[in-house]
């Protein structure tokens, strides 16, 4: 396994997610900052004899609470993401991991004007893998599908248990992918990750999906 290259790809992913989260937290801080400033403005105005409407204060307070909840969700995801590096191999529930990567990708999706819908099966799919690199390859698949999805701009992600393996399907890709040659994916970095994860990527021309095939236990 080309450890140095896998490490570089992972570090790049970690940096990208951290930068995205810091941007989002900055936005949240900016909203809280303006609302705190607004309370200050209203207080100064009330000192000059202009009464404050209690409903107005309730409304500002609700906005601040909403932003704190938003930050809490983002930071919970970030914490899970950061701890995914703790162990080289770990037991994970695939649906949870997909949802986490979708949460981490939310800002990228919003920037691209794309919706991401996850349809996980109700039965948990437990796999043993490298959690961090699995997140990296899932993120890259989501990103590719976001850039190449059909009109309507929704990426659908479904997972499936196949006994000794599991699959994650990303769709639907645009019509122009008439052959695998047009796809230009996976590229070098994805191939290194796939190799490290003992996984494979298949383009399904019938369903217009990118399918990630992963072993249930990477050590077997």
């Amino acid at each position: 396994m080309p450890f140095k290259l896998v490490g570089e790809i992972g570090l790049k992913f970690f940096g990208k997610i951290s930068a995205s989260i810091s941007h989002e937290i900055k936005n949240i801080m900016a909203i809280i900052n303006e609302n705190a400033g607004l309370i200050e403005d209203l207080t100064l105005m009330s000192e000059k004899g202009i009464p404050i409407d209690p409903e107005r204060l309730k409304n500002i307070s609700a906005k601040i609470i909403k932003q704190v909840a938003r930050a809490d969700t983002i930071l919970k995801n970030m914490n899970k993401f950061a701890h995914s590096i703790d162990e080289p191999f770990g037991q994970i529930e695939l649906g949870e991991l997909i949802s986490l990567v979708c949460g981490l990708s939310a800002r990228f999706a919003s920037m691209k004007g794309v919706n991401v819908e996850v349809n996980n099966i109700k039965t948990p799919i437990i796999i043993i893998t490298n959690p961090f690199f699995m997140q990296t390859i899932i993120f890259r698949c989501i990103n590719f599908t976001m850039d190449n999805c059909e009109k309507g701009k929704t990426v659908f992600i479904t997972s499936k248990d196949n006994g000794n393996s599991a699959t994650i399907a990303f769709g639907k890709l645009r019509e122009f992918f008439e052959s695998k040659e047009n796809l230009n994916f996976p590229q070098k970095e994805e191939k290194i990750l796939l190799n490290a994860l003992k996984s494979e990527m298949i383009l399904s021309l019938d369903t217009k999906e990118l399918i990630l095939n992963i072993p249930k236990d990477i050590n077997k």
Partner: protein, 121 residues
């Protein structure tokens, strides 16, 4: 002075507009590049405050489109970058003359607006 504020975070942009109004500055606001272009088509603004990163159309692209119709309009960019140093890299060539890093102090925003518009007179 006629000000246009554009940021995809509605709660941010509407609150800044309200706070500016308490300071005697009337500002219109939009939450996307498309909305902003509609406003620019119907009203003449002296200055626009644009978020750099917005879905579909970012602040830099929006500036270019606005400039085609309003070449004299001035711009301040808002950024969520970690620091000014992070943001400075590579932005001067893109036409970013004035910017503020979020979260922004309303006094700093007003000061920058006044400085830019004073320079033009």
């Amino acid at each position: 002075m006629q000000i246009l504020l554009v940021d995809d975070e509605e709660e941010l942009v509407s609150t800044i507009a309200e706070r500016l109004s308490y300071r005697g500055i009337e500002a219109d606001w939009a939450t996307s590049g498309e909305e902003a272009l509609k406003l620019v088509n119907n009203k003449k603004y002296d200055l626009a405050v644009l978020d750099i990163k917005m879905p579909k159309m970012g602040g830099l692209k929006l500036k270019k489109l606005i400039n085609k119709k309003c070449p004299d309009m001035k711009f301040i960019f808002l950024t969520g970058h970690g620091s000014e140093e992070d943001f400075k890299e590579g932005t001067t060539e893109a036409g970013v003359d004035y910017y503020l890093v979020k979260p922004v102090k309303i006094e700093a925003l007003m000061e920058k607006m006044k400085t830019i518009l004073k320079q033009e007179r």
